[in-house]
Each structure stands twice: as structure tokens, then as C-alpha cells.
């Protein structure tokens, strides 16, 4: 390879260094600081009576077609376990209460608005973002429908519109972002007739949760679900039964994106590893070529390689 001389070698290496400095700038992740006042909701499953008014209010607030509120008193839906879907951003399920069979346990499910959200970390285009107040919002204009957020979410929350070819949506609870901008409460919290949903600062609702568990230690199990799960969530739960019996996944304390982000940043640390690899390969190529040149008169540049021994 004729052109493989020392000067070129340094030229390409210099190019690499330039790239590295460029990378250093763009790699500064804009890890938005979370506000001390970030919001949260305490779901007290011992207070919830399963009226499902929240399901109705959520649909109304998000322009999802729904039947009248009276139809929601129909208890037969509890026969089957339900998950949030495109047409229902939150659902309530019923579980047996061994301590008192007359008072079954109802659990509302929606996006947990994680403190360290896997969906936000995963989204290829940054269509999911964590707001300063802690809520996680999906951006219609960016999403490409890759469904990686669904792969990443430990709570299996985002849902996808499998029946549409054009403009399919990722849907999940958005913490009633629009309503709150106008100073209103989230629709579900607002309608709840029993105050099973307590809205406030996360730190505040956490304190309430702890108090309730302490005061009624005979009722509640000593576990605030969401206090520490995958790094903590904005929505937290207390219950009179172990959470794995309420179909809530048993999760580790480490944030889900933690390992993957460190690998990601390790591989790309200011583009140094890739650039080093480039320089290394370049060196091997240079050495190999020189080695070969010494052994044969026949200089072989790649061009000639490609042409074979045509002559």
C-alpha cells in the first residue's frame, strides 16, 4: 500500500483525536435534575373500593371513547385480570383478601413514573422524556414505533397500537400532564370518592405511607412498593398483602437503565475506545504492510488487491 506512509498514519490519528474532542461535547448527557418538589401519588389499596371511577375519568380526560359512568359499577370485569391498553391507560383489578373475604383488595395499575425510567433511557429518539416534576411524557412527533420502551419497562406499561399501519401510538398514563398544566389534579385522583389516591410531593406522600403502615401495622404489610423498586417510582403503593400476590413484579433496587447506560457510556466514553481501536487497526495495517513490502518488491495497495493479478 503505497499511500500507507508515516504522514498519513499521523493524519488519520489526528482526525481521530479531533473526533474524540467533538464527541466529548455531544456525549454530555443532559441529565435533567429532578426537582425536590417532584410529585407522587400514594395508592392505598386498602382504601380503594374498586368503583373504577378513575378508569372512566382517565378516559374522559384523554378523549378515549367510553360508556357512561354507571356502567362502571359492573363487577364482572374483575373476573379477568386486565392490563392497561390503548383504550385504557389505567385499570383496576381485584384480588382475594385472606384476612377478610368480604373486603377484596383492589389495585389500580398505570405508569409508575419511575425516578430512573428505563423507557426514557431506552427510547431511540428520545420521544419519552422525564419532566422536572417527575412525570414521564411521550412525544407523538418523535416516536418511530420501535417498541423498545416496551421491552425496557419493568412494569410492562407502554402499549402499542398494533391495528394501525399509519400513525400508531405508544400510549401510557401521562400523569395528566395537560390537566396539571392548568392547575388541576390528575383526573383519576380528582374523581376518587374514597381518597384511595393521594396526590402531592413524592416526599410528602412517602411520609404519609410510612405513617399509615406504622399506625395500622396489623393491616398493612411493611413494604412501600415503589419506594425503592428499580430506583424508586413516583406512584407508590401500600397493601395488606404481599405485592407479588397482587401481580406486581418483585424488583431489585437498582435502576433498570443503570447497567445498560454504564456499558453504553463505557463503550463510547468520549469516543475514546472507538478512536483507539481505529488507531490500533491503522497501526496493525501499517506494520503489516511494511512487513510485506520488505518481503516482496510487489507493493500491494488495496486498489491492486481489488483488481487481482490482472495483467
Amino acid at each position: 500500500m503505497k499511500n500507507l506512509n508515516r504522514r498519513d498514519f499521523f493524519k488519520t490519528t489526528a482526525f481521530g483525536v479531533a473526533l474524540a474532542t467533538l464527541g466529548a461535547k455531544s456525549a454530555k448527557a443532559s441529565d435533567k435534575m429532578l426537582s425536590e418538589d417532584r410529585i407522587g401519588v400514594l395508592v392505598d389499596t386498602a382504601v380503594c373500593v374498586g368503583c373504577r371511577h378513575c378508569e372512566w375519568a382517565c378516559k374522559v380526560a384523554h378523549n378515549i371513547p367510553t360508556t357512561d359512568l354507571d356502567t362502571y359499577s359492573d363487577n364482572t370485569v374483575f373476573k379477568e385480570y386486565r392490563r392497561p391498553e390503548q383504550t385504557a391507560l389505567t385499570v383496576v383489578n381485584e384480588f382475594e383478601n385472606e384476612k377478610n373475604s368480604l373486603l377484596p383488595i383492589q389495585v389500580k395499575t398505570q405508569c409508575m413514573h419511575c425516578e430512573r425510567p428505563a423507557c426514557v433511557s431506552a427510547c431511540i429518539v428520545g420521544a419519552l422524556t422525564k419532566e422536572e416534576d417527575g412525570s414521564i411524557i411521550w412525544n407523538d412527533d418523535k416516536c418511530i414505533g420501535c417498541r423498545y420502551c416496551m421491552v425496557a419497562c419493568q412494569f410492562q406499561i407502554p402499549t402499542y397500537d398494533y391495528d394501525r399501519s399509519i400513525d400508531p401510538h405508544i400510549r401510557k398514563c401521562d400523569f395528566c400532564h395537560d390537566r396539571r398544566k392548568e392547575g388541576q389534579l390528575p383526573a383519576c385522583v380528582n374523581i376518587c370518592p374514597n381518597e384511595a389516591l393521594l396526590f402531592g410531593k413524592r416526599s410528602e406522600v412517602l411520609r404519609v405511607a410510612k405513617n399509615r403502615i406504622k399506625r395500622k401495622s396489623d393491616v398493612y404489610v411493611n413494604h412501600i412498593y415503589g419506594e425503592q423498586e428499580v430506583g424508586g417510582t413516583s406512584w407508590i403503593y401500600i397493601a395488606s398483602k404481599n405485592f407479588d400476590k397482587l401481580k406486581m413484579p418483585t424488583l431489585v433496587k437498582n435502576p433498570a437503565p443503570g447497567i445498560s447506560e454504564s456499558i453504553q457510556h463505557g463503550i463510547f466514553a468520549y469516543f475514546i475506545p472507538p478512536v483507539t481501536l481505529y488507531a490500533l487497526l491503522r497501526t496493525i495495517m501499517w506494520v503489516s504492510t511494511r512487513h510485506k513490502d520488505k518481503n516482496s518488491e510487489n507493493l500491494s495497495d488495496i486498489h491492486k488487491d481489488e483488481k487481482g493479478e490482472e495483467s
Binding site: 392490563r83 421491552v151 463503550i267 495497495d301
Partner: protein, 398 residues
């Protein structure tokens, strides 16, 4: 030895079958683009990724690894001896990655926004990195293929009919490229190797974020390393596999001299991969999950067994010297890596709430098979038109 277009008829009975398979796949694709993913696939909110991501994308990228491993061997380490494999491997990589990109387009819901990652960046996302690297690498592969086009058509551009007026300018472009490319090609080649290392490993990082949803037999922080090593390991077997099939199909003598020496390099690479794979299992204390012998465990055992048998075969000189044994051993490696990708993306993905097991639909399988058929058809067309395959007893075409 010199690469030249293969002199063969395009249509054979085998080709007819491939065309039918391709058309069948295209029919299902049409439905997917008209009625959405749900109409063709068995995907749902519990299983957002299925066959298309696991096989068409993940396994596709792995099996196209021959492109960068051969480039590293021949161009970076300057092992002239292996010269003849570069072009076929390059072509496979180029077509392979083209289909990966196509498969991504098919799988993502808003295919018309496929370009979004170019301007909307999320550096935290492994998928973003895979996407960007694959896009750039695909471009690099096309550039690397340009010399083949130049060789075939420089001074020979001869378009029919009205397009005639384009002959001169096109020829001019080829000549300019011919002057500029050789001096810069090494940049693209090294860049291609770097990009491959990056995205082959990031493909492994993809599933790390699934956390506890991933079966502990596969969920490990060294997934990216395992993905990279297995991609490197499958590179040469894939080249051997294709070369042997091509010589069969085009009725040529297999290039055993080259293939044997390639084959003798496979065992050490497999050994490194196996060492990490098995070592990781014990370090993480995950061996217990093999002993429960459920579906996941058996899939894991199968994946590992394929690689171990292949490794043992490649150890022996007898394997390396016989075309048939070499073919069998290479096929085992390919099957092992393919199964590994299927396991990682489909079998291992086992979320907490998972009412029914995902099994790919007939439509999904049809599209995957159709894509592979189409790939083979295009490969055949390209080697008949362009000088890709080297044959010992063929005179240079001039």
C-alpha cells in the same frame, strides 16, 4: 486467481422455488403495511419484539459478520492468501445489512419516521447506537463495493436506448472514483471494522435494559462482549458455508486451500467465546437454571451444544481438510449463533406478566423466509453480473 462474473443461467428450478417464497413473503408484507403489525404478527403488549427483530435484525447482523472479519484479516493484517474471500464476504455483508435495514423498516411501527434517529439523538439508548452504526456501516459497505462496479463497468458503460446520453457522464464518474478511491479506501475499511465492533456488541447491550424480564441464563452485563465474540466466531464459518454452497450451485471446484486455512482459525475463536460464555454462567451462579431442565434450559443447552460440537469438530485436521466435514462444522456454528440470537431476543424475554407464550405467526415466518429468499436471489444476480467470485480456471474477462 481472479474474480470474474459467473457464467451461468439465472433461472433454475431452485431459483423458481426461491421466487415463490419471496412472493409469498411480499404478500404478507403488503398486509402488514396496509393493516398494521397486528394483522400479520403475533406480537402484543407483552411481547413487543418477536421473530423479525430476533432473526431478521439480530441474527442478520451477526451472520453478516463475515464482511468485517474478512476485511480485518485481508486488509488490516494484510493476509493476501485469503484474497479470494473478500469480495463474496463483502457482497454478503452488503446485502445482509441492506436486508437488516429493510427488516427494521418493516418492524418499526412508524416506518416513515425511520430517519428520525439521524437528527433526534439519545446517547443513552443502545438501540440508537445500533441504528446509527448500522446506517453508517451500510454506507461504508456500499463504498467498499464500488471498486467492483468500477472494474466491471469502467470504459464499458453501455446503457440502452434513451439512457445512452448518460453513458459518458457515468463513465466519467467511475473514472474519477477510480482515481480517488484507492487512496482513501483504507479509511473506509478500518472505519468499517470499528463500526462493526461497536454495533455487534451494542446489539448485546440492547437486552440488558430488559433487566429482570430477561431469563437469568442469558441476562448478563457481559452480553455485549458475548455478542461481539460470537459475531467474530461466526464470520469465517459463514464465509466457508457460502463459498461451498456457491461452488456447488455454480458447479465450480471448492477453494479448499483458502477455506481450510480459514477453518483452522475457527476453533481458537470459538474457544474464547465458550470460555466467556461458560465462565460467565458460573461467576453469576446461573448454572442452577440449567439444572431445572425447563424449555429455557433446554434451549440454552441446545445453543451451547451446537457450539461445543462445532468447536470439537474444528479442532481436528480431518474436518478442516474435507469439504463435507468443513461444511457440517460451519453449519453448526451458524446454527449455534442463530439459536443464540433467537434465545436472547425471544426465549429469554419472559416478563412478569406473560399469559401466553409468543410463537411467531405464519405471516412473520413467511416474511422472514421471503426476505432470505430474496437475498439469495439478488446475490445470485450480482455474482452473475459482477466480478465477485474467484475461480481458479477462469480466464480474466477483458
Amino acid at each position: 486467481m481472479i474474480a470474474s462474473p459467473v457464467k451461468q443461467k439465472y433461472i433454475t428450478p431452485g431459483v423458481m422455488i426461491l421466487i415463490i417464497l419471496a412472493l409469498n413473503g411480499l404478500a404478507f408484507l403488503a398486509v402488514r403495511f396496509i393493516s398494521g403489525l397486528g394483522a400479520v404478527t403475533n406480537l402484543d403488549n407483552t411481547t413487543p419484539w418477536g421473530l423479525w427483530i430476533g432473526v431478521d435484525v439480530a441474527a442478520g447482523v451477526a451472520l453478516a459478520a463475515g464482511g468485517f472479519t474478512s476485511a480485518a484479516l485481508v486488509h488490516v493484517m494484510q493476509r493476501e492468501h485469503y484474497h479470494a474471500i473478500v469480495r463474496p464476504a463483502l457482497l454478503t455483508a452488503m446485502l445482509g445489512y441492506t436486508f437488516v435495514a429493510f427488516a427494521v423498516c418493516v418492524d418499526i411501527g412508524r416506518f416513515y419516521f425511520i430517519w428520525h434517529p439521524l437528527i433526534m439523538w439519545n446517547g443513552n439508548s443502545a438501540l440508537f447506537e445500533v441504528g446509527i452504526c448500522v446506517m453508517i456501516y451500510l454506507t461504508v459497505l456500499y463504498i467498499e463495493f464500488l471498486p467492483v462496479v468500477i472494474e466491471r463497468f469502467m470504459f464499458r458503460v453501455n446503457l440502452p436506448g434513451l439512457l445512452k446520453i448518460l453513458n459518458k457522464p457515468l463513465d466519467g464518474i467511475l473514472r474519477i472514483l477510480n482515481r480517488g478511491l484507492p487512496k482513501t479506501m483504507f479509511v473506509f475499511i478500518i472505519f468499517g471494522v470499528v463500526l462493526s465492533t461497536l454495533h455487534q456488541s451494542s446489539l448485546g447491550t440492547l437486552m440488558v435494559i430488559a433487566g429482570q424480564k430477561m431469563h437469568p441464563l442469558w441476562q448478563t452485563p457481559i452480553l455485549p462482549l458475548l455478542f461481539l465474540l460470537s459475531a467474530i466466531a461466526v464470520g469465517f464459518p459463514m464465509i466457508i458455508f457460502e463459498s461451498l454452497i456457491a461452488s456447488r450451485s455454480f458447479k465450480m471446484k471448492p477453494e479448499m486451500k483458502i477455506l481450510s486455512s480459514l477453518g483452522s482459525m475457527v476453533a481458537p475463536i470459538l474457544a474464547i467465546y465458550l470460555a466467556f460464555k461458560v465462565g460467565d454462567l458460573f461467576i453469576r451462579n446461573a448454572f442452577q437454571y440449567v439444572l431445572v431442565f425447563d424449555t429455557a434450559a433446554w434451549m440454552f443447552i441446545a445453543e451451547l451444544a451446537l457450539i461445543i460440537i462445532a468447536f470439537l469438530l474444528f479442532l481436528s485436521k480431518k474436518t478442516v481438510d474435507s469439504p463435507l466435514r468443513l461444511f457440517v462444522a460451519s453449519t453448526l456454528v451458524i446454527a449455534g449463533v442463530l439459536l443464540n440470537r433467537i434465545n436472547n431476543f425471544i426465549i429469554a424475554y419472559n416478563p412478569f406478566y406473560n399469559p401466553k407464550m409468543y410463537i411467531p405467526s405464519f405471516g412473520e415466518i413467511s416474511v422472514t423466509i421471503g426476505c432470505i429468499a430474496l437475498l439469495v436471489l439478488i446475490y445470485r444476480a450480482v455474482v452473475i453480473i459482477f466480478p465477485v467470485i474467484s475461480q481458479e480456471n477462469v480466464k480474466a474477462r477483458n
